[in-house]
């Protein structure tokens, strides 16, 4: 069925860790950059998108893995897209029902999770060739890696752009989360560039360079 044999069995921790670090979808594979750059203007937006993407990734990886013997190889891509689109539609509805204010801010980018090549990539290269449990771990690792990248970028941009951290968390976690807000640079102020799309590219590039430098010094 699959062109290549399943990956050699590895430990659960390795699978998760690989998704988070060695092939981190955002910083190493550079996948899913459109939502990454568009939504990361604040931590709360970044977290909401990370949760939605992660949910879709886990759902699609597990179901594609469970159904892999019944999905005909020559229609596997339409089948994968169908599964991803189904979970995305469900994520959109759940978000509109339970996190309406955040949904209004990032609705478009939740809808285009369906075109996120990170998710289709895991379906094609991992879930369609491996049993359910490793696929779940793979999805968890990849989702955590994507979330870490989104949150890092979101926190840096919010800090530079608005001088605050974790503002608006009450939109996701209820009223008591309003107290999580940290004002670091005081009101107003801030670097406007950091909140705009060009700032997202610049900061993402700098973070990427820093990550590569750390990786290099580890290897040598």
């Amino acid at each position: 069925m699959s062109a290549r044999p399943a990956a050699a069995p590895t430990s659960a921790g390795d699978t998760v860790l690989a998704g988070m670090v060695r092939r981190n979808p955002a910083w190493v594979q550079l996948l899913g950059l459109c939502p990454l750059l568009a939504v990361s203007s604040s931590t709360v937006n970044a977290l909401a998108l990370a949760l939605a993407s992660g949910g879709v990734l886990i759902g699609s990886n597990v179901s594609i893995s469970a159904l892999r013997r019944w999905i005909p190889p020559f229609v596997r891509l339409p089948a994968f897209v169908l599964v991803v689109a189904t979970f995305t539609t469900c994520a959109v509805m759940l978000m509109e029902a339970y996190a309406f204010d955040v949904y209004l801010r990032i609705a478009l980018f939740v809808q285009i999770i369906v075109t996120n090549c990170m998710i289709l990539g895991r379906a094609e290269s991992f879930a369609s060739r491996n049993p359910v449990l490793p696929s779940l771990l793979d999805a968890l690792g990849t989702a955590a890696g994507f979330a870490a990248a989104l949150l890092l970028l979101g926190m840096v941009r919010e800090l530079l752009g608005q001088g605050s951290l974790f503002a608006g968390m009450e939109l996701l976690f209820g009223p008591q989360a309003a107290a999580w807000r940290l004002d670091i640079a005081g009101d107003g102020g801030g670097l406007l560039l950091a909140t705009l799309p060009p700032g997202a590219f610049i900061i993402a590039g700098l973070l990427l360079a820093a990550g590569n430098a750390i990786g290099k010094s580890h290897r040598s």
Binding site: W70, I71, P72, A79, E96, F100
Partner: protein, 174 residues
């Protein structure tokens, strides 16, 4: 070969059905809450636009005009923008002659993100510049460059809405 082909088609159809069921179940689970969220958001928008002393519960819409009984009226309508229908809501001062806008909100739209973002920002920018205008004065508001179709459609829709006959006849029992 024919057998495996029809088996594949069946498997694919089963997958489609399964996905459909999952979506229908989620829709059934969330539908009520989504409707409540949207209604609450609409009510918040109305309250924010109505001004002091307005009758905002149980709005009586006739010909897409609802009188607020504080010298203002709400107008609603659909303008066709660049990406499809834009549902708009406006408040007008009907004691002024001719009636003048006091606020405009876009409640639903599919305009291009990044280019027509001003439709989401009622307090500042282009939508706020419509306030104070009456029918015939819309041409004084510049269109937004890059979003000419969007802004022109809104100008035209609001211009004709301000001339609605229903605006002149308040239905308020004291």
């Amino acid at each position: 070969m024919a057998d495996s082909m029809s088996g594949s088609v069946l498997a694919f159809l089963a997958l489609v059905t399964g996905c459909g069921i999952l979506i229908a179940a989620t829709a059934a689970l969330t539908g009520e809450r989504i409707d409540a969220n949207r209604a609450q958001r609409f009510q918040q928008t109305v309250t924010a636009m109505a001004g002091p002393g307005a009758r905002v519960t149980d709005l009586q819409w006739s010909n897409d005009v609802a009188h607020l009984c504080n010298g203002r009226a709400l107008l609603r309508g659909i303008a066709s923008g660049y990406g499809g229908d834009m549902h708009w809501l406006a408040a007008a001062d009907i004691e002024a002659a001719p009636p003048a806008l006091t606020g405009v909100r876009i409640t639903r739209h599919q305009e291009t993100p990044g280019i027509a973002d001003f439709v989401n920002q009622p307090e500042r920018g282009w939508l706020a510049s419509l306030s104070g205008r009456s029918a015939g004065e819309m041409a004084q508001v510049d269109t937004v460059s890059g979003a000419t179709i969007t802004s022109r459609a809104l100008r035209r829709a609001l211009d004709s809405a301000l001339q609605r006959p229903a605006l002149a006849t308040p239905e308020c029992e004291q």
